[in-house]
């Protein structure tokens, strides 16, 4: 048969990894990305990438990496793919090294490794504080090479709208929108790989990039693809609240002695330095005298939430607490934390040597995602998924520096599997449903463009973000989640009256955003309802009413499917593959 034609949607690490594998195997790729692929969200990753290379003489093994990952994920991840990922990780690092990633080095010229959360081993390779950027660039360069050879065609500035699914339920291509000319087009393919990242935008402000809306995942979810473990959302304890987004502040600030506090009195508006020691509430140190400010991430995140939302002690009445480094001398700070303090100063305009930083937990990562089998294929034949947009590698909580390796491994896995699938695919009958899908999309577009009403999509989005952040992040109460779900229903209804202030047919960002928003709203119910149904606490999912993990009932993957009714998605549960490591209690206050 002819050269398989694969569409990859998303040009982050996972997407590019898949593209490289397909091009290398002789396939032909159309790569779709909203932004030029070099600007994908993967650039934001800082810390590093895990691989048990054992170059520090610690006896680290891929099994240890596997165990740490499963344990960190509170045993919710299927063990077979995680084991494969951990075993492949050292070779992935070698490959990236060969591709020219400027990893930090030992004096002997070998890769340097550092330690990260959730492990006792120095297992994290890193390139300064911009590892994700460096990795993405390395893959981007390889893809550019294939592009020069004509094996890859990039559609940058195109947004994926939907999959084209034929009468037998097999994916045959996609529809996409040119964000400049607003042209709607159908593209045929033998297989599609979605590598469309996280869903941060559903939470309004997050550490994610602007394009991380989850719109593509939601679109295929609405076309019948299962969405798994949607309720598992990682919230990082220390991010820098900004007017436009939340920026990450590394854990190392606390490692170097940073102290987290708020004024004891609500509404105390004095500048930080004028508040005497006795009127400061160092809540982490008071509540957790043993670990103090260095309690594990989820504990710190929950504590900060409690201070702000339950005790009402947020700074200036806002959702913020101090992360104070001012008691440490400038020289030490610059030597050990220079880079991140510079970022804080640049974006906040305040010198953290002099004034305490204002931080707050920030929505950071989506553990859940499109359900895929061990070959990275979703429940619709021909639609594959890789990277943060699928659910497979992190269980209930992701370990630091595991995201980059899971993205690349997922892409490397999805690419060849998609090729193999495409080779044995029966020929398409007729247009495979392209015309019908195109007509459906054209109708949606027309309706949206001409819609009458008074709702502004950006304001609806803010309301969604506020309610999701309040009820569906750190601490979850069924009552709050129900409120959030009802709010989403309300927003879905108000969306019907959305009125675009921009009716132009050229680079209309409001139009594109409104389409994303609709998808965000539909997808967000998998989070709220998935969380309502999971009456336990596991990893990042914490319910004070159900503080314990309940393996008997919930050692299961949540699978949501779209119904199109106002009740929301339908849920079913699937057993977790635990064939290698028997689940055990997860606690970080002692050696596991």
């Amino acid at each position: 048969m002819a050269t398989p034609r694969i569409i990859v949607v998303g040009g982050g690490l996972a997407g590019l990894a898949a593209v490289i594998k397909i091009a290398e195997a002789g396939g032909s790729v159309d790569l779709f990305s909203i932004v030029p692929v070099k600007r994908s969200h993967s650039v934001c990753a800082q810390g590093g990438i895990n691989a048990a290379k054992n170059l520090k003489g610690e006896g680290d093994t891929t099994w240890q990496h596997f165990d740490d990952t499963i344990y960190g994920g509170d045993f919710l991840a299927n063990q077979t793919p995680v084991k494969a990922m951990c075993e492949a990780a050292p070779a992935i690092i070698d490959l990236l090294d060969r591709m020219g990633v400027p990893f930090n080095r030992t004096p002997e010229g070998l890769l340097d490794f550092r330690r990260f959360g959730g492990t006792l081993y120095n297992r994290t390779a890193f390139a300064g504080a911009t590892t994700g950027q460096q990795l993405l660039y390395a893959l981007d360069e390889q893809v550019r090479r294939y592009e020069a050879e004509g094996k890859v065609k990039k559609y940058e500035g195109w947004e994926f709208l939907s999959a084209i699914i034929d009468s037998k339920g097999v994916a045959r291509g996609i529809t996409a929108l040119d964000l400049r000319s607003m042209e709607l087009r159908a593209f045929a393919a033998d297989a599609i790989i979605l590598a469309t990242g996280g869903i941060g935008a559903i939470f309004g402000k997050s550490t994610n990039s602007v394009v991380c809306t989850g719109s593509a995942q939601s679109a295929v979810f609405q076309q019948g693809v299962y969405y798994a473990n949607g309720e598992f959302i990682q919230v990082h304890p220390t991010s820098i609240p900004g007017e436009d987004k939340l920026r990450l502040m590394s854990e190392s600030a606390r490692g170097e002695g940073g102290r987290v506090w708020v004024p004891r009195k609500a509404g105390d508006n004095r500048p930080a330095k004028q508040i005497p020691e006795s009127e400061r509430f160092y809540f982490l140190e008071e509540w957790y005298p043993k670990y103090g400010n260095l309690v594990p991430r989820d504990v710190a995140t929950r504590a900060i939430h409690k201070v702000v939302y339950e005790l009402g002690l947020g700074l200036d009445g806002q959702a913020m607490v101090y992360l104070d480094l001012t008691h440490i001398d400038r020289e030490t700070l610059d030597r050990k934390l220079g880079g991140i303090l510079e970022i804080y100063e640049k974006f906040v305009g305040v010198d953290p040597h002099v004034e305490p930083m204002k931080i707050f937990p920030g929505m950071h990562y989506t553990m859940g995602g499109l359900w895929v089998d061990f070959d990275q294929m979703t429940s619709v034949p021909g639609i594959f998924a890789a990277g943060e947009c699928e659910y497979q590698y992190h269980g209930a909580n992701r370990l630091g520096a595991n995201s980059l390796v899971s993205c690349i491994f997922g892409g490397f896995h999805a690419g060849p599997n998609a090729m193999q699938y495409a080779k044995s695919l029966p020929a398409v009958e007729g247009d495979g449903g392209a015309a019908a899908e195109l007509a459906r999309q054209a109708e949606i577009n027309k309706k949206l463009m001409n819609n009458e009403g008074s709702e502004n999509p950006f304001r609806l989005w803010r309301e969604l973000g506020q309610t999701m952040t309040e009820h569906a992040t750190v601490i979850r109460q069924n009552k709050g989640l129900e409120k959030a779900d009802a709010k989403i229903v309300e927003l879905l209804d108000r969306f019907k009256r959305v009125n675009l202030s921009d009716k132009s047919q050229w680079a209309n960002t409001s139009f594109a955003f409104a389409r994303q928003l609709k998808n965000m709203l539909e997808l967000s119910r998998t989070i709220t309802q998935g969380a309502i149904l999971r009456d336990e606490s596991r990893g990042a999912h914490y319910k004070p009413d159900y503080p314990e993990r309940n393996d008997e009932k919930f050692l299961k993957t949540t699978k949501a499917s779209f119904t199109g009714t106002c009740e929301g998605p339908r849920f079913e549960y699937e057993d977790v593959d635990t064939q290698y490591i028997t689940p055990r209690a997860r606690r970080y206050d002692a050696a596991k």
């Binding site: 650039v43 934001c44 080095r105 007017e243 436009d244 960002t509």
Partner: protein, 249 residues
Amino acid sequence: MANRTVQFEIKRQASPDGPAVWERFELEWRPGMNVISAMMEIAANPVTADGRPTTPITYDSNCLEEICGSCAMRINGKARMACSSLVDNLEQPIRLEPLSKFPLVRDLQVDRSVLFKNLMRVKAWVPVDGTYDLGSGPRVYPQQQEVNYPLSNCISCTCCMEVCPQFNEQTGFVGAATIAQVRLFNNHPTGKVLKEDRLRALAGDGGIQECGYAQNCVKACPKQIPLTNAIADVGRDVIGQKVKDWLRG
């Protein structure tokens, strides 16, 4: 601080051939406000300072952490990243204009794909044999890594090209960013294998010779990449390559 406001003047242009008009906006000041958050505010409430309804601003943005390179624009006349431009540090009214050296798409959005094409023309990649497991990469000593890492931090924002007096349609100059990438890949143990190709490419029309060494690039670079050093080093190598080619020719 209750009623403090921020004044913006934004250059609007609905399409590449449409007329450019200035629109004024007055927004409520908020602590930590940056240019991006102001434009988000306008999107949520698209009304000009004189109360006229308008459309949300079209602009490029993504990470908002000055690492993706999307949101470069001219702010009070100077090319810089909108995400790291804090309102409190800017003179008002804050004037926003698109980059002037790149074809306009709409409002503050321009087409900067020329940089990616240039990177392709100079083969800015390490030609690995394949992605299968071939063992460890070449040894790279920390000293070498410390030279390469800053060059590898280029976020493709194109500020260096925008501020360069030589980067324009007459010269077709390739710009500092691409030259720095040539320096990076020529310095890599494996990337080196394409060194001659890259140097010859840079001697083509629009190549490194068009640099006027005004050094604006290095001043404007938000990532402090040693661009002028790279231009000097690569300049020498290109001359060496041309001489070698001539003598061997």
